[in-house]
Each structure stands twice: as structure tokens, then as C-alpha cells.
């Protein structure tokens, strides 16, 4: 082993950045896997451009992967980076602002030629002009060193160039005292069919590792001890994959087959991809001609008895909303996944946002109540998928499940569940021979009866016109309509009875309740811990259910002087909570296509706590914008 001194660290945030074609996502994934195996707690943030491959060397083409690994629990991919691996000038420029003072830069000097500097908009070479003096810069000609390392493997220049991410990876693994075995094994399994590529990658990896050990440049290495995670078998999992597993598991436990009707769209496509690979579990996937067909095919399958699923992101939800209302009217189970992304319209398709909440709650014609739940972390997606499926089937209703680009693509360690221990969910079906009223209702759930299409004697017709209570016949009767509108609402509102008590981190009462939903969980939770460490009476809580809301919410609110909701939108949940509770719920908003940093939340909370003048009329979140604009309208 290395003779160089090893410094202990509590946590490290590392960011790999390069051209879209540089394989930074793979590098990040591998480093993540090594850190997870090692036992660190981890959170990741992949970030890539909307183009398949933007012009090489440009800012627009930069792809990055950030990883936070620690021996204490971590909740976000980290506010600022300790180490930036910059494979070219554009990667450096695009990511420098996130680097901590005195942070480490490992720069691939092989790509810092004039053309690339120019493309990135550098007049002079930042590695040479002293502009990086606030950081520790390690210039390494990764390109050339990789070339040398893989010489003789017979690969062409392009293929050789593709190995340089493994050099970078090897170097970083050395730097954080990580073994190479897992990655070597992974290379073998991944590139088994192209032994020359496998060999080249292996060599590049090792070359990077040994470079660290040998080169004078790196005087010390670091180590981050394993975290004290609950005992068990762990794996790393991304949100989209966890969703897919959750749905397969739910179908299994519900005793039905899973049907997915979907149309590809970023960042939801991977759910379709994942489920397409699991035909062995009886999963039927249909890539439909569009979102209208995707959701209606799912509704057709639902009528046939399936656990019916449709997955998309915001623009797709817009297209599906008419059909979702059909599922509401016909009271058929359906799970609709919205992996939110930046908008409006095509917006920032590869970036994250939480701005579809109001669409999920209200984006359908007329009174069309739909349960809405949100997944808060990659691993949590498994449970969210299960919960959405169960509720859809038990209550005979479409259910909206909100994820977002951050949860979908991010990953975290997941204690593998014992699937045998997950209880089955028994569903009652109308037995053959019974007197069947399609719109009779279960007295507890208010669900209408579940019937297996194909059962003799239970033939019936449903549709989108208003139904008569109990019989399900078409009815234009005014009073019946009102009754049915209220029944549909009551059915959904009634789900609140099965929601658990709202749990708080921090004290049961205090100055500020920080409340979130969805992917902001890590940042809010982390901010809460740090605020309490600073002596503030701040508690945090997180909502799985957005509709119905937990029924103890107003009571919980009453125990705090201020309720603050950080959201990646302009205050959508805050608005809903104000309307429901009449509390002056405050917002912390960020709409930048990026997740919160803990520090951002901390700063805002401290600011709000200083503000004692709570106006009874809404503080228009937009006031600021006006100033912002006018300043620049010279």
C-alpha cells in the first residue's frame, strides 16, 4: 500500500465533470458503488444536458456527477464540492462556482489546448494565469497518460480517448483510499463481450491509481470511515429503478399483473425501460403512440383487471388529464407517475423541479379529485410505488405519484427489503352469481365493487357520463349529480383516516416548523439538524400525502410560531396549506432546475425568523421579480 500519509475526513463532496461523451456518469456511478461498498452513507446528483451530445468542449455540453460520501448520515449530494475533477476547460468553468474555498481541482491538462479554452470562453489558461489561486490545483495530463497506459490494446484513437474517465476514477479511488476490486470486476462483466475495451479500461483504471501513489503531485491521501447505517444487506438504487421494483412488488402482492402504458419522456423514460426488462414477472409494457394512448391503454387494462400504470413527466400529464378524469368517473384504478422536470412547456427537460403539484391536484376538468402522493428519496420510491398501487386498487381510483428528476436519477444506499415479509393485499371481487350493482359502495372505503371482467352474469356497462348512485346507470338527475360529486370527493378525502400521525424531527413544538414534500426531504432534514445544532427551535416534517392531507396538520401547525415550506416552485404547497389551514404558511422558493442546498434553507429560515411582521394578506412571492426585472430594463 501507499506510503503517503492518510488524513481522516468526515465527509467529502466530489464532482466529476466533463463533456457529455466523456463518461462522467459512469465514473460517478462507479465511485458511488465503491463508496457504498465501503460502507459510507452517500447521496448523488447526476446533471446532464438536454442534447444527446452537445458540441464537444462547450459549456452546453458539460455533464457532471456529484457524490457526497460520509461516515455520518448525509441527506443531500452536498452543498459545495470539496473536489472537482474537470476533464476540460468547459467542465471547469461550469462547475467552479460550486467549489469550496481551498477545494481541490484535478484538471485534465490534455484538454486545455487553445481551442477548448476558447470554446469555454477562457481568454487565458486558468491553470496558468493564477486565477485559481484560491484552490488547490492538480494539473494532470489524463489524456496522454491514458494513451500511454492503453498502448498496445489495439483500440483506435476514439476508443482510447474513451478510457480516460477510468484513469480519473482510478486516481480518485487512490486519493480516498478505496480498493479497485469491485470496479475491476464490474469492468469484466460490463465489457465482457469486447475484451480489448475491457483490458484498456482496466489498464487506465490502474494507471490512474498508481499515478496517485507514485506522482509527486499528490502528497497525501484521505479516508472517510464507514457510516453507522442500520445493519443489513444494502444496495445502491436510483429513484426510477426503485419505482419499477415497487410496482412489480405491488402487483405481486395484489395478485394481479402489472400493465404499463407509456410514452418516452425525460426524466421518466427509465421506468419504462426498467419495466420492459421484467417480462418474467408478468409485466406488460406498451410503448404507446403518445401520452393519450399510453394512459387510455392503461385504463383499458385496468378495466380488464390490471394494476394499471402510466408514467410521464409534466407535459405528458397535461395530455393525460382528460383521460385521468375518465378513470375518476368510472372509478377504475390507475397509477399515474409524474417525474417532474423544469417548465413550463418543454422548459428544462433534464432538470429537476416540483412545479406540477397544482396540476396534479387540480389539472382536470370539473370536480375530479385524485389522491396525490410524493416520493422523497430514491429508495423511498419503492414504498411510494407500493402505496400508490395499493390505494388505487383498494379505493378504485386513479392515484397521482409525484417524483422528480432529482429523485429519479439520484441514488442512495437502500437496505434491501425482505419481500416475503411484505404483506399481501387482499382484494375482494364480486362473486359470480351475486346481485351486482356497479356503483354500490364499500361502507368503509366508499369504493365501488371490483369485478373481474369475463365473469358470467356480471356483464355491465360503464362510461364517462354521470352515473346513478348504486346502479351506475346514466343519470342526468340534478340531485344525483351533486351526490355523486360529493361521493367522489368523500372517497378520496376519506383516505385521510388511514394516514399515520404526522411525525416530527426535532421538538413537538417550537418556533419554526419546516415542512416539505418530495425530493426536498434530504435538504430540509439536514437543514433542520443544523438549525437545531445552532440552538434554534426548528422542527421538520415531510409529507408523503398531498391529497388528502394528514388530518392532524392544523393541530401540528398550531404548536409552532411559524410554518415554512421550502419548495422547488413558487410556493404551490404553501398556497394549498394556506387555503386549507388559514395559517400564514411561508415559502422558501427556488426554481433553478437544481435541488436545494441545505445552506440555502438555513439562511432563509434565519431570515424569516428575524421577520416578525407577518402580513395577513399574502406576501406576493413575485414582488421580488419585479425589482429584479426593472433593474435590467435600461
Amino acid at each position: 500500500m501507499s506510503q503517503k500519509p492518510v488524513h481522516e475526513l468526515d465527509a467529502v463532496v466530489i464532482r466529476f465533470a466533463g463533456d457529455s461523451g466523456d463518461g462522467m456518469q459512469v465514473t460517478g456511478d462507479r465511485f458511488t458503488s465503491e463508496s457504498a461498498h465501503f460502507g459510507n452513507d452517500i447521496r448523488t446528483l447526476p446533471d446532464f444536458p438536454a442534447e444527446i451530445r452537445a458540441p464537444a468542449g462547450t459549456l452546453a455540453g458539460v455533464s457532471s456527477f456529484q457524490l457526497h460520501f460520509a461516515h455520518l448520515p448525509v441527506f443531500t449530494p452536498g452543498d459545495a464540492t470539496d473536489v472537482l475533477v474537470a476533464m476540460n476547460p468547459a467542465a471547469l468553468k461550469a462547475n467552479l462556482s460550486g467549489l469550496k474555498p481551498h477545494g481541490v481541482i484535478i484538471a485534465n491538462t490534455g484538454q486545455f489546448g487553445d481551442r477548448n479554452l476558447e470554446k469555454a470562453g477562457y481568454a487565458t489558461n486558468p491553470l496558468a494565469d493564477g486565477s485559481l489561486s484560491a484552490f488547490q490545483v492538480f494539473p494532470v495530463d489524463i489524456s496522454r497518460l491514458t494513451e500511454t497506459a492503453v498502448e498496445g490494446t489495439g483500440l483506435n484513437t476514439r476508443a482510447v480517448d474513451r478510457c480516460k474517465n477510468f484513469f480519473a476514477l482510478g486516481l480518485c479511488l487512490w486519493m480516498y483510499s478505496r480498493p479497485l476490486e469491485h470496479t475491476l470486476a464490474w469492468i469484466d462483466s460490463k465489457f465482457g463481450k469486447t475484451p480489448d475495451v475491457a483490458e484498456a479500461n482496466r489498464r487506465a483504471l490502474k494507471a490512474g491509481y498508481f499515478y496517485g501513489e507514485t506522482a509527486e503531485a499528490f502528497p497525501v491521501r484521505y479516508s472517510v470511515r464507514a457510516a453507522a447505517l442500520p445493519a443489513g444487506l444494502y444496495r445502491n438504487i436510483s429513484g426510477n429503478k426503485a419505482l419499477a421494483y415497487g410496482f412489480i412488488t405491488a402487483a405481486h402482492k395484489l395478485g394481479v399483473e402489472l400493465f404499463l402504458g407509456s410514452y418516452p419522456i425525460t426524466p421518466a423514460s427509465d421506468i419504462l425501460h426498467e419495466l420492459s426488462a421484467h417480462k418474467r414477472f408478468g409485466v406488460i409494457t406498451m410503448q404507446a403512440e403518445d401520452e393519450l394512448a399510453a394512459v387510455t391503454a392503461a385504463i383499458g387494462a385496468s378495466f380488464g383487471g390490471a394494476l394499471a400504470l402510466t408514467t410521464t413527466s409534466g407535459p405528458g400529464i397535461a395530455l393525460k388529464s382528460e383521460a385521468i378524469a375518465l378513470a375518476t368517473m368510472t372509478e377504475l384504478p390507475l397509477v399515474v407517475v409524474d417525474v417532474q422536470r423544469g417548465g413550463p412547456s418543454t422548459g428544462l427537460p433534464t432538470k429537476t423541479e416540483q412545479a406540477d403539484l397544482l396540476q396534479a391536484l387540480f389539472g382536470r376538468n370539473s370536480e375530479s379529485p385524485v389522491p396525490v402522493i410524493a416520493a422523497s428519496t430514491p429508495a423511498d420510491c419503492f414504498e411510494a410505488a407500493f402505496e400508490a398501487s395499493r390505494v388505487a386498487m383498494q379505493y378504485m381510483t386513479p392515484v397521482m405519484l409525484l417524483s422528480d428528476g432529482y429523485v429519479a436519477n439520484g441514488s442512495e444506499p437502500w437496505r434491501v427489503p425482505d419481500v416475503a415479509a411484505i404483506p399481501e393485499v387482499k382484494l375482494d371481487y364480486v362473486p359470480q352469481g351475486s346481485v351486482f350493482k356497479p356503483y354500490a359502495r364499500d361502507p368503509h372505503t366508499l369504493a365501488r365493487p371490483r369485478v373481474r371482467i369475463g365473469t358470467p352474469g356480471l356483464e355491465h356497462r360503464i362510461g364517462g357520463l354521470e352515473k346513478e348512485h348504486v346502479t351506475g346507470n346514466i343519470s342526468y338527475d340534478p340531485k344525483n349529480h351533486e351526490r355523486m360529486v360529493r361521493l367522489r370527493h368523500a372517497k378520496i378525502a376519506g383516505i385521510a383516516r388511514e394516514l399515520p400521525k404526522t411525525e416530527l424531527a426535532g421538538g413537538d413544538s417550537g418556533d419554526v416548523l419546516l415542512l416539505g414534500w418530495g425530493s426536498t426531504r434530504g435538504a430540509i432534514h439536514g437543514a433542520g439538524i443544523r438549525l437545531r445544532e445552532m440552538g434554534r427551535k426548528v422542527s421538520t416534517t415531510h409529507l408523503r400525502w398531498l391529497n388528502p392531507l394528514p388530518s392532524d396538520l392544523a393541530e401540528v401547525f398550531a404548536r409552532f410560531h411559524m410554518v415554512v415550506v421550502p419548495e422547488l416552485n413558487l410556493g404551490q404547497l404553501a398556497f394549498v396549506l394556506r387555503g386549507k389551514t388559514l395559517r400564514d404558511v411561508r415559502s422558501i422558493c427556488k426554481v433553478q432546475g437544481q435541488p436545494f442546498r441545505e445552506q440555502e434553507i438555513i439562511d432563509k429560515v434565519l431570515e424569516l425568523m428575524a421577520d416578525i411582521n407577518v402580513s395577513p394578506f399574502v406576501v406576493d412571492v413575485l414582488e421580488g421579480a419585479r425589482a429584479l426585472t426593472h433593474a435590467s430594463l435600461a
Binding site: F259, G454, G457, E459
Partner: protein
């Protein structure tokens, strides 16, 4: 009555037309062509040997799309234009069911055109009846994508300007494997076509010319007229020469074009008359016939095309079977994956 318990047609108590009548008030206008179609469908269903509970009628929105309510089978009156997609999902999930789609020229060709085309391309094993009355009935008489140019309606007070679709040409262009046409009141042909559609493995597309006495009365009178129809319809039968007008006229290739010829002494010989081959893998003749319109040409009726091609739902199930045949799926193994670590 006693409901049949199995899908085995041998074991079926004989069903009658009445068994398929849902017994509710039928809400079409007096004289609407939909009545005749309903009667023919109800009458034909027992002959298919399928128990009622294995049949589903799916429709969109329109007068025609009220159809499922009147059939004593499973039924789903959905939303405008989406019936083919709903049927595709249903059939893909439940290959044991017999799925019929009822749609209109607006529902199926205007708002629902895309799903219709894609269903035919995929060859999902569903049977689609498109009631073509060349008008929007339910919304009170706007023109439709099959309305003749110059049709005056509330939305086209000085006449429509868009060339109508020819539904059968469109279907053939989209790769449909079964394409047929029949008139609403043709009580002889309609059952035959329904039976053939049922027997066909794949998407069957049937254009039913349907009179809307309220908003487009007589749109097909010229063609459906009892006396004139012998001259104006070309009744197609697989394996039979394409003759009409009492055998005095027929269809033949004339200088590389499908055309009408007079048959008889000193005119075209029977040998020149094309024999209808519904199973021709090449859709060209079917396409050429689908172009024909009154009055320039006789209107082809019957099955223009019926060819075999793997069905979407069949292939999907085959892939599923292939996967499941590999032995029981291990959910725990899936969830665990192959890159794990232990925390003690």
C-alpha cells in the same frame, strides 16, 4: 336465463338475439341507421359461439358510441377518440376477451385518427366498426373528415373545403390486415362481415355506411338504393370474379389501371375480369378499389382485404411466455440485484 360458465362454445346453451339486448331505452333519433346496425350485431353475436361475458364493446363519444349501452355484454363508453387505444390496452392485458370497438367518422377519423392507425399498424386483435355518416351527429351536425367537399353545416356555412378521407384507403395505407365496407341496412352482408371479422386474427376494420336522417339524410341513398345498388355497388367475394350490374359489368386491368369494363360478347371476356383475392399479400388492388367512389365507379362492398400477420397482443404474450417459461421469477433476487454489501 342461465348464464354460461365457460368459453367453450360446445357447452354453450344456444344464445339468442335477445340475450344480447341490454334492455334499456335506445336513445337514437327515429330512423337512425344505428338501429339497423344494432339489430344486426345483436342478431349475429349468438352465431359467434362466444359467451356474452367474454365480449366487450368499447366506444368513444358520438351517437354511434352509445352502442355499448345497448349490448348485454361488458361495455365501456370512454372518451372522444380513444376507444382504439383503450381496446388495445384491454386486449393486450386480456387476450381471452373478444374486444369490439364502435366509433364514428368523427370519433375514429378526426380526434381518434392516430390511435386508429396505430391499432391497425400493430394489428391488435380487435374488431373496429366505424359508423360513417359523414357528419357529427351528437354535436348536432358539423361536417366531419369524411364529409364531401362543399358540405354546408353550421361550421361550414358556405361549404366545407377539405377533401375527405377515404377510410378504407387510409386503413390500407396504415397496414390494416382486414378491411371491409357494408351499408347499415344490408341485413345480409353485415352479419357475414361481422362473422369474418370475428374469425380474423388481427385488427378488423369495418366501415359501415350509416344514414343520419337528422343531419345528413340520404348521404348514401344513391349507393344503398334497393333498386340501383346492383349497378352502384361492387359486391366483393373472395375467389369470385368482380362483377356487378347483374354480371354485365366487371373489373379488369386496362392499360395498367384498374377499371370498369362491360362484359359479354364483343366486350371484355370473363377471363379478363379480376378474381377477387382478399388474401393477396400485396395490398395494391385493395387500395385501388378503396379509391373508388360513386358515381365515377361502383362502390366496393364486402371484404376488400383479409391477410394474416402476427397480432400485437399475440406477440406480446409470446414474449411474456418466453420469459416466464424460463422458470419462476424471483422477486427477491430482482430487488436485491447483484451489487450489494452488508452492514453489520
Amino acid at each position: 336465463m342461465n348464464t354460461p360458465m365457460t368459453a367453450n362454445s360446445d357447452a354453450l346453451p344456444a344464445l339468442t338475439k335477445k340475450d344480447f339486448d341490454a334492455g334499456v331505452d335506445v336513445r337514437w333519433c327515429p330512423g337512425c341507421g344505428d338501429y339497423a346496425i344494432l339489430a344486426a350485431v345483436q342478431k349475429t353475436m349468438p352465431s359467434l359461439g362466444v359467451p356474452r361475458e367474454k365480449i366487450v364493446f368499447v366506444s368513444g363519444i358520438g351517437c354511434s358510441s352509445r352502442f355499448p349501452y345497448y349490448m348485454n355484454t361488458y361495455g365501456f363508453h370512454t372518451i372522444h377518440g380513444r376507444a382504439p387505444a383503450i381496446a388495445t390496452g384491454l386486449k393486450s392485458y386480456r387476450p381471452d376477451l373478444h374486444v369490439w370497438v364502435v366509433t364514428g367518422d368523427g370519433d375514429g377519423l378526426s380526434i381518434g385518427g392516430n390511435h386508429l392507425m396505430h391499432a391497425m399498424r400493430r394489428n391488435v386483435d380487435i374488431k373496429i366498426m366505424l359508423f360513417n355518416n359523414k357528419i357529427y351527429g351528437l354535436t348536432k351536425g358539423q361536417y366531419s373528415p369524411t364529409s364531401d367537399v362543399g358540405t354546408r353545416t353550421k361550421s361550414t356555412p358556405v361549404g366545407s373545403i377539405d377533401t375527405p378521407f377515404k377510410p378504407l384507403s387510409l386503413a390500407i395505407g396504415a397496414g390494416a390486415t382486414f378491411v371491409a365496407r357494408v351499408g347499415d341496412t344490408d341485413a345480409k352482408l353485415l352479419p357475414l362481415i361481422l362473422q369474418a371479422a370475428h374469425a380474423h386474427k388481427g385488427t378488423a376494420f369495418i366501415e359501415i355506411l350509416q344514414n343520419c336522417p337528422v343531419f345528413n339524410d340520404g348521404a348514401f341513398d344513391a349507393v344503398m338504393d334497393k333498386k340501383a345498388k346492383g349497378d352502384r355497388q361492387l359486391q366483393l367475394e373472395h375467389g369470385k370474379p368482380m362483377l356487378f350490374a347483374g354480371g354485365t359489368r366487371g373489373v379488369a386491368w386496362v392499360r395498367g389501371k384498374l377499371d370498369v369494363v362491360d362484359v359479354g360478347e364483343g366486350k371484355a371476356a370473363m377471363a379478363d375480369i379480376l378474381v377477387h383475392d382478399a388474401h393477396d399479400p400485396d395490398p395494391t388492388v385493395a387500395f385501388a378499389l378503396a379509391q373508388w367512389e360513386h358515381p365515377a365507379k361502383p362502390v366496393p362492398m364486402g371484404i376488400l382485404r383479409a391477410v394474416e400477420r402476427p397480432t400485437y397482443d399475440g406477440a406480446l404474450r409470446a414474449q411474456l411466455r418466453e420469459a416466464t417459461d424460463k422458470g419462476p421469477a424471483d422477486l427477491q433476487a430482482l430487488v436485491t440485484g447483484n451489487d450489494t454489501w452488508m452492514v453489520a
